[in-house]
């Protein structure tokens, strides 16, 4: 049965031009964890949202804060996260983290935040939170098309010691159990997320690195072209799923 499903999935891949209907990973969580995510006081990720709110108003050395240009984030950042990753002015694909750092370095004239640093996690989570409940909606045409195709190819390419592609699990056998875990569709509508495994909040690229290691494939760096293109593809896959950031995940 499993063989047939996998085979069907594999055969369908080359022709896959449309995004399959996928579910948010929350749908695979236990009622307790779902409740934990939904409760604003219990969800540990909210601590980073609080940090982000504070940082938003903190002035950089040259005197500007995020608020100086963007005002009240609860207004100005509504829907922003839903449109990332997106292509920036210089033709570079930017995710939320890279955009924040672009503002930092070019407009605030301050040093960029390191990937996975507390301030970057906090700001990314805070901005993503402002799109809570909004559907993911990235552009994959025009200047984004090349990146999207690269991400799509990555998702369907067999990699690593186990010779597995993302699609084989996350399309092929999503919903099945791997030990006690249920294989999700790999949707990314809840990042940055508080992962129990990490006992802290982390970025999508951290999670992607964990995925790569989990299947014994090459891990790429945070902000690498590979993961950025993949992020765009995954965001398109997650189209119409509501943003839940910060999610609670295992």
């Amino acid at each position: 049965m499993l063989r047939a499903a996998l085979l069907a999935g594999l055969l369908a891949l080359p022709a896959a031009a449309q995004t399959p209907r996928i579910k948010s990973a929350s749908e695979f969580l236990s009622p307790d964890l779902k409740a934990l995510q939904a409760d604003e006081t219990a969800n540990p990720g909210m601590l980073w949202v609080d940090d982000g709110a504070r940082l938003w108003r903190e002035t950089a050395p040259d005197g500007k804060s995020c608020a100086s240009c963007h005002g009240d984030a609860t207004e100005s950042m509504k829907g922003a996260a839903a449109r990332y990753p997106q292509v920036g002015a210089e033709g570079r694909l930017l995710n939320l983290e890279l955009r924040i750092n672009e503002c930092r370095t070019q407009r605030q004239i301050a040093p960029a935040f390191a990937y996975e640093s507390e301030p970057l996690l906090a700001l990314t989570t805070y901005v993503a939170r402002q799109s809570l409940g909004m559907p993911m909606a990235v552009k994959t045409d025009d200047s984004a098309a090349t990146f999207y195709k690269r991400g799509e190819a990555f998702f369907h390419r067999r990699q690593g010691q186990l010779n597995l592609s993302c699609a084989q699990c996350h399309d092929g056998v999503a919903g099945s159990r791997l030990r006690a875990d249920v294989i999700s569709n790999g949707a990314i509508n809840a990042y940055p997320a508080y992962r129990l495994e990490w006992q802290t909040l982390g970025s999508l690229h951290r999670r992607l690195r964990a995925c790569s290691l989990g299947v014994r494939a090459t891990q790429f760096n945070h902000g690498s072209d590979e993961y950025l293109s993949l992020e765009l593809y995954l965001a398109k896959r997650s189209q119409d799923l509501r943003i839940e950031s910060p999610g609670v995940r295992k």
Partner: protein, 109 residues
Amino acid sequence: MALAVARVSMPATAKKGDIIEIKALMRHVMEPGYRSDNRGQIIPRDIVKSLSVMYAGAEVFRMEMHPAIAANPYVVFSTVAVDTGELVFTWTDEKGATTVEKKPLMVTA
């Protein structure tokens, strides 16, 4: 940069005699002292030892924690609304460092 350290939620007002539910979340790694890092060195134990809540002249709740409390310790408990005043939440770690959060409660007759 000061990190957000706690989130407390409880009603802002209550009638005298009402039992109010309080939820308190504190940011802390709760390192149990059993994990080792990539080089095989044990990561030292670092946990919050207790949460004490003072209200209207007395300690109305105290929780003693051990390493088995999950990271970013979370607790739900209740207290009776007796008088308008402040609830003071004090988390103390094993080195004696404290984190304090205050929440006002307006109590109507």
